[in-house]
């Protein structure tokens, strides 16, 4: 299998395995090849050939692919899975950078690893640039350090005349060394400017425009639409359709944050008073992790987000669901609803109710989200109640207070919150 092909297969496998758990993700199911496949391959192939570094890229990939490919021939069984795992642990120990690349983004062991993984045209050329520069500059580093070491240890005539060497001479080193360096730097400059040009703007008109606003310490996400009735707000979880460029307008409500979903694109600061633009595109369905990349205060470490790329159909379905207001309150949940209005509604909004607070995330479809507290906890009923009662323990300094609730209050509130699908 050629290197390029292995790259193709990898991308293809990824697209199939999105969202599955680690073990099943290793079992390829080679069914039909959809249109997404060719899209991913074309972009990957195009970039790789264009920059002429497909060999380095593919060898890195192939290294990581060897085992899963073998496992696929014999079909899935637990022994090969364990062997596979052992291989991967060894690989991790050896290289320290090895991730589990054959999995979808959401099951990567290093979800922010932009060096070995990229899933969209705003990130892939940059990843290749990174490979080329790393390879080239590492080689130069080794050569120059080798020269230094040879300079130190090389044999010299042992007779110590007490004389001092002449000052002249040796300038050839400076001329040749600097000349070669200048040549290489010029080449790298041309290459990085090409990449900059390639990733600065999307090739086609963005299918969708979102406004992402950074708050201490969470993300507000507004989906724009020509029809005001179809606009909606959510938080901390961005859904996008696969294979389409999405324009992001980046704002800040308080201090400077930076939007960064490494495997989709580099980071851009969100600066109060300015609207920065960036674009992302995911060519493979999956969950892509992001994190605030500009120091923004006490809980900077806990300001994460997720981008979920899904098929057009799934994305439309999700959008429809998000546009709906919350379900009417059943009699059973009256108490919880009242508690919510008293304690939560001042800061949080639930569309279709009197809760219209704008200081915290919109909770209309809270349970549609995979994580809460800007990625800090998975969204389970237990975590949710722990978060509500001990927010300051989890995220010291956050505007969300730890809310004291009696047991009966807690269960009533939990019951109401469970209706926010």
């Amino acid at each position: 299998m050629s290197s390029v092909e292995s790259l193709k297969t990898l991308r293809y496998r990824r697209s199939l395995n999105a969202g599955k758990c680690i073990l099943t993700a290793r079992q390829p199911r080679l069914t039909g090849r959809g249109p997404r496949y060719s899209l991913a391959v074309r972009s990957a192939f195009g970039h790789s050939v264009a920059v002429g570094i497909v060999l380095i890229a593919a060898s890195l990939r192939t290294l990581e692919l060897v085992k899963p490919m073998k496992a696929s021939k014999s079909g899935f069984n637990s022994r090969s899975a364990i062997k596979n795992l052992r291989f991967r642990i060894t690989l991790l120990a050896l290289s320290m950078v090895a991730a589990r690349p054959s999995e979808a983004a959401d099951t990567l062991s290093t979800p922010l690893n932009y060096f070995l993984h990229s899933y969209g045209p705003a990130a892939t050329p940059v990843m290749h640039l990174g490979w080329l520069m790393t390879a080239l500059l590492s080689a130069i580093t080794l050569i120059v350090i080798l020269l230094l070491v040879i300079a130190i240890v090389r044999k010299r005539s042992s007779a110590d005349s007490g004389m001092i060497g002449a000052e002249s001479g040796g300038l050839k080193w400076v001329y040749i060394g600097t000349g070669i360096s200048t040549f290489i730097l010029a080449g790298l400059t041309v290459y990085f400017l090409t990449v900059l040009n390639a990733v600065a703007k999307p090739t086609e008109t963005p299918a969708l425009t979102l406004t992402v606003t950074g708050y201490d310490w969470w993300w507000n996400i507004e989906y724009e639409h020509a029809d005001p009735g179809k606009r909606f707000v959510t938080a901390n979880e961005i859904h996008i359709p696969v294979g389409r460029p999405v324009l992001l307008k980046l704002k800040s409500a308080d201090v400077i944050h930076a939007f960064w979903v490494p495997v989709l694109a580099g980071k851009t600061q969100m600066i109060p008073g300015l609207v920065n633009q960036k674009w992302i595109q995911a060519d493979v369905p999956g969950i892509y992790a992001g994190q605030c990349a500009q120091f923004c205060g006490a809980a900077h470490a806990h300001m994460n987000l997720e981008v979920i790329a899904e098929s057009d159909r799934d994305f439309e379905k999700w959008q429809e669901a998000q546009r709906r207001a919350a379900f009417p309150v059943s009699e059973h949940n009256e108490h919880g609803y009242k508690l919510f209005m008293d304690r939560c509604g001042g800061c949080h909004a639930v569309r279709g109710t009197e809760a219209e607070g704008l200081h915290g995330p919109d909770l209309t479809h809270l349970n549609s989200r995979g994580r809460i507290a800007a990625g800090l906890l998975t969204n389970t009923p237990d975590h949710l109640m722990e978060w509500i009662t001990r927010a300051q323990y989890f995220k010291p300094g956050a505007r969300m207070p730890s809310i004291a609730l009696s047991d009966s209050e807690a269960s009533a509130l939990a019951s109401y919150l469970s209706t926010l699908d």
Partner: protein, 671 residues
């Protein structure tokens, strides 16, 4: 002088006299008289009033090393917190204060002051002078540095230390999001420190162009002098930007100005520009003198002069010049237009070229020389290796789209530590080993020295190299903790272990210093057989530095006559020279050719620098505490102390009112 003299002495009264040329044998009564003129009074009076550049230099070094140790301990606390995922060793607020103070301490209170220490101590000795151009300004520079350092730690024990990072971006550091005294301490402290750096820089610039021994033409000064000169000139342009930025921030915070306040049409991005217009040149300010140290000291251990003196000197200045045109590479992710980013990205690539010149010059020097493997050599050679690694990772960050990924990750942390520890700390420690005999008259232990080098070198690489990988794995900077699912556990564990090994290496070095001060083997005037002028005087040097002002004939005064293929030329005269001993005197020379021009009368020791420093610092304390009466009082006292300092005194005049045709207009001119 002769050319301009004709027009000049129509206005100016004539110079006083022409100095005699002669010798002062060691131990002679004349030498004792000279000693008496220059010595500092014993006891506390002397320690508060001294203006001896050597004392001030040592003070700078000791104070900077204390700050290095404090900053290092802070770093170890941070590393304990990050040793594993979700550790609770520090609270987020403690973590933020510690990483901020770590940066502030290392960058502002260690990195430049330690180099100022070397330069203060060495410049007059390297240049063949008796002191810096403005000895009292020199003392003031130190006192304000010390007080500014203490000032910035004033709120640390209260748990209210600066907490917005050393870069201190608004609006997070503004009045709305940071209500405590944390940032006020930082802002005022930086303005105060700026005074120290500015007066120090002025002093270096004037010293270079005025105080060189006769014959030390501009192409004979050591590279350390080029480095410090370049850095000082840069400071004069860069410091105003940062002082202004911090002053405006303080106005925003305390009197309701709106320079950075979006709600009132202020602009937060302005802060980033002002800060990095200062910040990037500063990076070169704290490395160029250290590179100069290596360029001067490495040849001693290679038994040959530096390869490409002119190229390295020019590269030093080229780096600084370009250094003013690359600040936007700290701001690639701020949404500036692509064209602007391209220009600054390309400029950041170009700045690597002068560094390549220096690196190849050092390697060639070692290659063509006969290395002597003493401890300083190990540190300098280690420095070259670390510089190469740090330089290469720097090239990666210059590539704009790649920097959009690398920026604000641990890759940058790795890069900047390779640069700052590699190019500043390693040469500095090497330089301490090298000049310790000159400072103290004793050698440092070679055995402990080699232990300290290898422990530091291995610990450094074990600690900081994995940070590159953490960065490529997407670990952002300045996060106080991370969940295990991110896959950063192993690299952080290794980094923490490495950082502690490095700390042990530094500890071995400090132990070596302490032991050697008392028990080191006695050193002669020139224990390394080095070429430069500071090794011509005894170790430690006498208060007056040079009994007679020497006349210099080459770049390597102490190697003359032993260099292979050397052409015959007039020899440097170290024993015989101008006799200057009517009070504190030294020789002023012309800026380029170092022709004798004038006898400079140097001021006596004085309490005024200490008092001005103290009152100005208390003035800032008054501003911090909003105690306006106290502030006004301190302003008045500062002015009073300055007036005493500046009061004209006849005995410092260089010209005479008596008309003496014999010496008119020719005072100081050599034979």
């Amino acid at each position: 002088m002769a050319a301009i003299g004709a027009t000049r002495h129509r206005i100016d009264p004539p110079l006083e006299r022409i100095p005699e040329v002669g010798r002062i044998p060691a131990g002679s009564p004349i030498e004792a008289r000279l000693e008496k003129i220059w010595e500092t009074a014993p006891g506390w009076r002397g320690s508060l009033s001294t203006v001896d550049h050597k004392t001030i230099g040592v003070r700078y070094l000791v104070t900077a090393f204390l700050f290095l140790v404090i900053g290092g301990i802070e770093a170890l606390f941070l590393r304990i917190q990050l040793v594993g995922p979700e550790m609770g060793f520090l609270t987020p607020e403690q973590y933020n204060q510690l990483f901020t103070m770590h940066g502030v301490t290392m960058i502002f209170l260690y990195a430049l002051p330690v180099l100022s220490g070397f330069s203060n101590y060495l410049w007059p000795l390297l240049l063949g002078s008796r002191d810096m151009a403005f000895p009292r300004l020199n003392a003031l520079s130190y006192w304000i540095f010390l007080f500014a350092g203490l000032f910035m730690y004033i709120s640390f024990p209260l748990g209210q230390a600066p907490n917005a990072g050393w870069f201190n971006y608004v609006p997070f550091s503004g009045p709305v999001y940071n209500t405590g005294p944390n940032i006020d301490v930082f802002a005022l402290g930086m303005v105060l420190l700026g005074i120290s750096t500015t007066v120090g820089s002025v002093n270096f610039v004037v010293t270079l162009f005025r105080m060189r021994a006769p014959g030390m033409t501009i192409n004979r000064v050591p590279i350390l002098v080029w480095g410090t000169l370049t850095a000082s000139v840069a400071n004069l342009f860069a410091i105003p930007a940062v002082s202004l930025a911090f002053f405006l921030l303080w106005l925003d915070r305390q009197i309701g100005a709106h320079f950075f306040d979006v709600a009132n049409n202020g602009q937060p991005l302005l802060w980033q520009h002002l800060f990095w217009i200062f910040g990037h040149p500063w990076v070169y300010v704290v490395v160029l003198p250290a590179m100069g140290i290596v360029s001067d000291a490495l040849p001693t251990f290679c038994r040959r002069p530096l390869v490409g003196y002119t190229a390295v000197a020019l590269a030093t200045m080229a780096t600084m010049l370009l250094g003013f045109g690359v600040w936007v590479h700290h701001m690639f992710a701020t949404g500036l237009p692509t064209v602007a980013l391209s220009i600054f990205g390309a400029a950041s690539m170009v700045i690597s070229i002068p560094s390549a010149v220096a690196v190849f010059a050092w390697i060639a020097t070692i290659w063509l020389g006969k290395p002597v493997f003493k401890t300083p050599f190990l540190f300098f050679a280690g420095f070259v290796a670390l510089f190469i690694i740090g330089g290469m990772s720097g090239v990666m960050t210059a590539a704009v789209p790649l920097d959009w990924q690398l920026n604000e990750t641990y890759f940058i942390v790795a890069h900047l530590h390779y640069v700052l520890l590699g190019i500043n700390v390693f040469p500095v420690v090497g330089a301490i080993y090298y000049w310790f005999p000159k400072f103290t008259g004793r050698m440092m232990s070679e055995k402990l020295g080699k232990w300290s080098f290898w422990t530091m070198f291995i610990g450094f690489n074990a600690g900081f190299f994995p940070m590159h990988i953490a960065g490529l794995l997407g670990m952002p900077r300045r996060i106080y903790t991370y969940p295990s699912r991110m896959g950063w556990d192993e690299v952080n564990l290794i980094t923490t272990v490495g950082s502690f090994i490095f700390a042990v290496g530094v500890l071995i070095f400090l132990v070596n210093v302490v032991l050697s001060v008392k028990r080191g083997a006695r050193a002669g005037a020139n224990p390394w057989d080095a070429p430069t002028l500071e090794w011509a005087v005894s170790s430690p040097p006498p208060a007056y530095n040079f009994a007679t002002i020497p006349t210099i004939a080459s770049r390597h005064p102490l190697w003359e006559g032993r260099i292979e293929g050397e052409e015959e030329h007039s020899r440097t005269k170290l024993e015989e020279g101008y006799l200057l001993m009517r009070g504190r005197e030294t020789l002023g020379t012309s800026p380029i050719d170092a022709k004798p021009v004038v006898i400079l009368k140097m001021p006596e020791d004085s309490y005024t620098p200490f008092l001005v420093g103290l009152f100005v610092s208390l003035l800032f304390v008054g501003l911090l505490l909003h105690s306006w009466t106290f502030t006004a009082l301190m302003t008045a006292l500062s002015c009073a102390a300055l007036s005493v300092w500046m009061w004209p005194r006849r005995n410092l005049g260089q010209r005479t009112t008596r008309h003496d045709p014999a010496s008119a207009g020719r005072g100081g001119e050599g034979p």
